[in-house]
Amino acid sequence: MTNPSPAEPARLDVESIYVAYNGTPALRDITFQVPHGARVAVIGPNGAGKSTLFRALVGLLPLQKGRVLIHGLTLGHHLDCVAYIPQREEVDWRFPVTVRDVVLMGRYGRLGWLQRPSLSDHMVVRQSLKQMGIVNLADHSIGDLSGGEQQRVFLARALAQEPHILLMDEPFTGVDMTTQAATLDLLDQLRANKVTVMVSTHDLNLAAGRFDAVLLINKRLIAYGTPRQVLVQENLSRAFGPQLMVLPDGTMLVDQCCPPDEGIESYRET
């Protein structure tokens, strides 16, 4: 495994991927490219396949068709290039690990089978803890933390991985203001370090205001481009269907509770 230098473009190329989840098709014919260091918001209704997309990009779900290229190479060549923070961590919260232990795990991708973490690894860990403002929690058990603090631990771990691409699944949903602010700070810092970031969110204003590009999906790619290009009525209509309501003054309301019927979408297409 060769680790491309940060100078090379961390292009993420997604070519016509089809992904199934539990036997049913979840994503169909999705194609897009993300240039080096871009910050992309992924939006769509519930059940649109945002989480599925991230899992496929990381290699947790197999691709039925199509391929994903990072730095021009297929998945599997980049052990520590992509970091992924799922929406709900599927970890055992009562496992005997401290915050420091968890963040250190982010370095394991760079270590050989028999290597012990070195001093520089520990320094990276300390730096990540500092960035997320949780140095004081370093020796606490992971189970003793609040929800927000736990979120920050996993962000710190993702940082410690020193990834080229970071995928975050709904990091702003259901977290306290401090953590939201910390996460946004983190995004700015990552941009400064030219890390490519993809974040899924329900907050359309945030998507419009803080992101370079918006990827709107609902099992298929609906639109991809700048927020201005994407967040128009036609696209939102196709994605959210009857959940979209346009008020007389032009304001658009989106109710994000349930996935629109497949049938309606195809009706619209004819």
């Binding site: 290699g59 992509v82 970091a83 961590e89 496992f95 005997p96 795990m105 394991y108 058990s141 771990r157």
Partner: protein, 278 residues
């Protein structure tokens, strides 16, 4: 006091028994850490009982009984993994089915052999008092192999146990590692059977580690505490069985359970009585 400690050791079978018991106690406790954290207690028990057909088949083929036991334990573990990964049944159910099947197959095979039925079931029941020098060397040798493997794969086992999603994103060979862990568990069970028998091996895989779980905050310290408890329980249990004239294996398990109860009640951090007071 010293006399009490030394008197049983004047017999070489007691010396060997003590050493074997302590080694097995440590081994089971270390692997038991993973058993407790990953919820594999039922699996450990199933493995211990499911070796019966392996032993029977090895006997029929005039092969080494221990190897037969090891093969059976490995097959059972990997089969359970296979069935539960299909997703149609839970792991718990898969274990229940395969455990019963293996045990029944073993009993059926043995009843067809008829003659040395008693001998084969001694593999299951084991006897800490019957450990020969060869048995001891084998236990020490295999024990070192197991501990070495755990040490080498420490990081990897930690990640796959704590966060399987991270393991996948780090491109760790999760299936391979899981199977490797199951094989180490199978080896531990078989090594223990020789000395302490089935019921005990299953118990020693769970109780010391469960006690350590209440006390330790990090994985490596949980392992160390677990090993200490395992070793102490084995030694103390053996001495108690000597002086109270009871069966050694049960004494060991009961002592380990006593330690667990004490910790459960009086643990400064999570003890039941402490929590009630607060």
């Amino acid at each position: 006091m010293i006399y009490w400690l030394l008197e049983p050791l004047t017999y070489s079978f007691m010396q060997r028994g003590l050493l074997a018991a302590v080694i097995v106690g440590i081994l089971c406790a270390v692997m038991g850490t993973y058993v407790v954290l990953r919820g594999m207690a039922f699996l450990g028990d199933a493995m211990a009982h499911a070796i019966l057909p392996g032993v029977a088949i090895a006997y029929l083929l005039h092969g080494n009984l221990l190897l037969g036991a090891l093969a059976a334990a490995a097959v059972i573990a990997l089969s359970i993994g296979f069935f539960s990964r299909q997703g149609t049944i839970k792991e718990d159910t898969a274990i229940g089915i395969l455990f019963a099947a293996a045990l029944s197959l073993g009993v059926a095979l043995i009843s067809s052999i008829q003659t040395y039925a008693v001998d084969l079931s001694h593999i299951l029941f084991g006897n800490i008092l019957g450990v020969s020098l060869n048995d001891l060397w084998l236990t020490v040798g295999l024990g070192l192999v197991i501990l070495l493997a755990v040490g080498l794969a420490y990081k990897q086992f930690l990640v796959i146990s704590f966060d399987p999603v991270l393991a996948a994103t780090l491109r760790l060979p999760v299936e391979l590692l899981r199977n490797f862990m199951l094989l180490l568990l199978a080896l531990t069970v078989v090594v223990s059977l020789q000395t302490v028998g089935v019921g005990l091996a299953a118990a020693m895989l769970v109780t010391p580690a469960a006690t350590a779980y209440l006390l330790a905050r990090r994985l490596w310290s949980m392992m160390v505490v677990s090993a200490l408890i395992g070793a102490i329980s084995s030694a103390a249990g053996l001495y108690i069985s000597y002086y109270l004239n009871i069966v050694s294996g049960s004494a060991i398990v009961l002592f380990a359970t006593l330690i667990f109860l004490l910790v459960f009640l009086f643990n400064p951090r999570k003890g039941l009585l402490r929590r009630r007071k607060a």
